[in-house]
Subunit: 198 residues, 2 copies
Amino acid sequence: MRGTTHDSLVGIAAMVLSANPAASMQDVAEEAGISRATLHRRFANREDLVFSIARLAISEIEEISAHIDERQLTGLAAIEALIEVLVPLAPRFGFLMSQYCLESNAEAVELSQQVFNKWTGWVEEGQRRNEIRVDLPARWVVSSLHGLVASVYDGVREGLFGQRDAPRLVRLTLLGGIATTPFTHQSFQPVSNTRSSP
Amino acid sequence: MRGTTHDSLVGIAAMVLSANPAASMQDVAEEAGISRATLHRRFANREDLVFSIARLAISEIEEISAHIDERQLTGLAAIEALIEVLVPLAPRFGFLMSQYCLESNAEAVELSQQVFNKWTGWVEEGQRRNEIRVDLPARWVVSSLHGLVASVYDGVREGLFGQRDAPRLVRLTLLGGIATTPFTHQSFQPVSNTRSSP
DNA sequence: CTCATTTGAGACACCACTGTCTCACGTGAG
DNA sequence: CTCACGTGAGACAGTGGTGTCTCAAATGAG
């Protein structure tokens, strides 16, 4: 019988590659306690493995998103809830962002677009209800969420922040920014930064 | 005579590796219009090349930081000015963030720490003057700046946002967040998200 | 017990990149 | 012109990962 289920094997691979995106199939196999041959029997390519991890990530994230929908959260509240559950996922799936091979995989692109579109919809709803500022593209809000989650994960790995603080940092920063007074528009006038002489 | 100066060669390499971090020395040489042999004559290793790019990046960023200091900007104003000049640098140096080989290079770590510490100092000054919220670690503010710059660069590459909009998006989001009303604290109560049964 | 299936170990060819070396060519200085 | 020097082209061995294959051992079902 198979000692490890498909999903648990994919999960282990996710952890290994997340810790070191350049890890070899050998490394993954060792960590999973199986031989390289067996790993290749289950995943033809490295690309196949990475894609399987991506599918697992997407399915978990879809489940999360569905759960937020079930609770009938929309707009800002949905984004808040999303932060809370998304941050703990970064240590396993964060590395997927830098996997160029996924960009050429139509299915992976399709699946992730679907999720991002749902989130973008939440943001747009928040903008309609005037909970979220309308001078930002909804898609940018989703992008900045990505960026902050990635940053906080890096920081946690480097020991700069505690894991428990991570969601709070992202939440406060994304939702409220860093300024104490409401920041509305261009309080900074850039000087002529076109110095032609180096 | 040398057709390309050291710095311009490093600059070309920065662009090539930024477009594709997995580009080979061959690719870099071709793009620079020189042979692989000559490239190896100037940079012993790939690591050497990457480090040279890092040094160029740091020197440009240090110059930028010094310029902000000269204008006697501190606190929030310094961060604002920083965003403005940092965003256009992302297309050339953004890939350095994901270069693990730099993490094991003492000099590179030293140099970047120096710059980040200066920025962190600006944030702390802003916190003392109550321009920047004090419930965020100063170091996190710098981290989130990184994250947002990386995100906006990705978005621009994907064609989601215009290059001209990029600094504005980062500025508005980092400084003011995405919420319309001042966001202070935990308006969201996470439900028990420890469902033991999958 | 017996047999079918799965596994681990290892061999294998293959590939792409790296770093070194040699040598002939072209150019510029003297 | 002559010579020194930098360069391009290409050969070369070495490296590390990949994907396939074979075979013997282990495992589990009947």
